[in-house]
């Protein structure tokens, strides 16, 4: 039964993927100017129209749009992500490392924000209207209202430049050859500040959600019924209330992964984290068609996958969901 449910969810992901990539593809082609024009302009030389045509046909850009799309699609699914016009590298050789770096950043940030949000949200809901609750709620509003790039710059200034607690950027320390645990520790040392900044915005978001969801659940009759059974308050909160309060968060967690990835674009740029986000910005500026398309398609797959995981998790936590 569960297997069937997962397969059904997977099948519904296919049209979503196709529609998303068709839209992406169309948007790229609606935008004025093209990759060849940009290549020519950035080289600073003039080129006669004949050569431009030749370059266009060399890259297959003179073919009808649907042919270009299907060629990209079949290549994508056979594992060929294409070729970056800008860096002159095969995307297969440069993307995996960037994907891993971004996943590292995004997952650590998400785990941070969810873990803190659940703990703080539960405390705030249980101590509703207390000083702590008011403080946490105002603080959440404060961090939520601050633009990510500004928090990033501020954090860099305070923690890296003034206090010297964290490195200014990058993934590892330059010029040092760590191995084993030291290498991991060095990487985490570089990760801590960008991940914290990225998590801060979502922490506020998740916190407010958990708090209101918890408040709602704590007023339910089954919570009173649990207390009437003699259940200890901690078990009432975590076993009876939190499990119900988490349901909306699981779905939101998956949906917001897309936003977190978008946030990572800003963070990666500020902290010199060479992940997908930074590559995406460069690719967008240079109208790097294949890179943009393949990269976005990968992000679409990541978001779809996260939604699938959330659906399965929801079905696991909430018995009312039919397989």
């Amino acid at each position: 039964m569960k297997k069937k449910y997962i397969i059904r969810k997977l099948l519904t992901a296919i049209p979503t993927f196709l529609i998303a990539t068709i839209i992406l593809f169309s948007l790229l082609h609606i935008a004025p100017s093209g990759p060849v024009e940009i290549m020519v302009r950035s080289s600073g030389k003039t080129m006669d129209p004949g050569m431009i045509e030749e370059l266009r046909s060399q890259y297959g850009l003179d073919k009808p749009l649907h042919q270009q799309y299907f060629r990209w699609l079949s290549n994508f699914f056979t594992g060929d992500l294409g070729y970056s016009y800008v860096t002159n590298q095969r995307l297969n050789s440069i993307l995996p490392e960037k994907i891993l770096l971004t996943l590292e950043l995004v997952l650590v940030a998400n785990v941070f924000s969810v873990a803190f949000a659940v703990v703080l949200g539960v405390i705030a809901a249980v101590r509703k209207n207390s000083f702590l609750d008011n403080f946490l709620s105002s603080f959440a509003l404060f961090t939520y209202s601050m633009p990510l790039f500004w928090v990033g710059l501020l954090a860099l200034y305070v923690f890296s430049l003034k206090l010297g607690l964290t490195p200014v950027g990058g993934v590892t320390s330059l010029g040092k050859d760590f191995t084993g645990f030291a290498a991991i520790a060095d990487n985490l040392y570089h990760l801590i500040l960008p991940a914290s900044v990225l998590s801060l915005a979502y922490l506020a978001y998740y916190f407010r959600l958990i708090r209101s969801s918890m408040l709602d659940v704590l007023n339910k009759e089954y919570v009173v019924a649990a207390r009437a059974k003699g259940v200890k308050e901690l078990a009432v909160i975590f076993k009876h209330a939190l499990r119900n309060a988490l349901l909306p968060l699981i779905t939101l967690f998956a949906v917001s992964l897309g936003f977190v990835l978008a946030g990572s674009v800003v963070i990666e740029t500020i902290f010199g984290w060479p992940g997908l986000g930074r590559f995406l910005v460069t690719a967008a500026f240079n109208r790097d068609y294949t890179a943009l398309l393949s990269l976005n398609a990968i992000i679409v797959i990541m978001v779809l996958f996260a939604n699938l995981v959330a659906d399965i998790a929801c079905a696991y936590v909430d018995p009312r969901i039919k397989y």
Binding site: Y222, K229, K232, D318, P319
Partner: protein, 330 residues
């Protein structure tokens, strides 16, 4: 005496003022007795039940009175000691079983929880065996299979049976049944009432049956306490109450029961509405709706008077202008 609630005052401190949801309420329950607690919605019946378990939600608070259970005042107990009472000595069945069963925990989990907490049984197998036994007692077929079910997989009547099973899983001395049938179909209602009565007799259980339905009261209780606007207005045995209701509110309630003897064209109602419980003032709270109210009713709170053995009423006129006097103060 198993339970003796005296002068219970439970107030809710809201932004609009202090709501006196229970104001100097007295009631007693003897061992093996069923006390019916009757009144309109919002008259404080559930507040009394939740006060006994000390589960009044914020901004509510028990501000005065005594709740003596087995000769100890529950209001003096620590939270820890109170938890040992809840679900073990005193348990509660709620109005809406769909809302009072946790949707994400299995039936077995929810029954087993009370057994695990109070009976010091730790082994899963043993807990399940006890759960099966109690499910059988409340008339659930294939109890072993039901343990793995979730609440939404059961019908409303089944859910209420599960709630009763949870409440009775630790052989409590007192069961608080807060309108246990009002969210159920009429046919299911009869089944659940029969079940409660059978269990009550088999287990020699004491019970407070909270309801707004006098039919239920007639069927199941030994004595009745009538509440109006957070106050006790009358208390009597079932026979006394039905044959000789003394408070005008009780009389009106009895008249409002539709009968099949005459063709019913209009349903009797009590005119007016329940007064606000914020600063109700020093007067008989029923006086604005009372047909026999006089000046004294609008200016003085009536005292509870014992008119007969087991029959107490709080009315200046004791149910009629011609019946005043000839009684002793309680």
């Amino acid at each position: 005496m198993l339970l003796n609630v005296s002068d219970l005052q439970t107030h809710f401190f809201t932004d609009d003022g202090v709501v006196k949801a229970a104001d100097y309420v007295d009631l007693t329950v003897e061992k093996g007795e069923v006390l019916g607690l009757v009144g309109e919605s919002g008259c404080g019946k559930s507040t009394v039940a939740l006060s006994i378990l000390r589960l009044i939600p914020k901004p509510g608070k028990i501000v005065g009175g005594r709740i003596e259970f087995l000769s100890q005042d529950l209001l003096d107990l620590s939270q820890r000691a109170m938890r040992k009472i809840r679900g073990n000595e005193i348990s509660m069945v709620f109005q809406d079983p769909t809302a009072s069963l946790n949707p994400v925990l299995s039936v077995g989990d929810q029954i087993g929880e009370a057994i695990r907490i109070h009976q010091n049984v730790k082994k899963r197998k043993e807990i399940n065996a006890r759960a099966v036994e109690i499910l059988q007692k409340v008339g659930i077929s294939d109890p072993r299979d039901r343990l793995a079910n979730y609440p939404h997989e059961l019908s409303g009547g089944m859910q209420q049976r599960v709630m009763i099973a949870i409440a009775l899983s630790c052989q409590p001395k007192l069961l608080l049944a807060d309108e246990p049938t009002s969210s159920l179909d009429v046919t299911i209602e009869a089944q659940i009432l029969n079940l409660l009565r059978e269990l009550q007799q088999d287990l020699e259980l004491s019970m407070i049956m909270i309801t707004h339905d006098l039919g239920v009261i007639a069927e199941i209780s030994d004595r009745v306490t009538v509440m109006y606007a957070g106050q006790r207005v009358e208390s009597a045995t079932v026979t006394q109450l039905f044959e000789n209701p003394l408070h005008p509110y009780t009389q009106a309630l009895l008249e409002a029961i539709p009968t099949t003897e005459h063709a019913v064209t209009t349903i009797e109602t009590i005119p007016g509405k329940v007064p606000s419980l914020v600063n109700p003032g020093k007067r008989c709270l029923f006086s604005p709706r009372c047909e026999i109210a006089t000046e004294v009713c609008k200016s003085t709170l009536p005292e509870s008077k014992r008119v007969e053995e087991d029959h107490i009423v709080a009315c200046h006129h004791q149910g009629g202008p011609d019946r005043s006097g000839g009684c002793h103060e309680e």
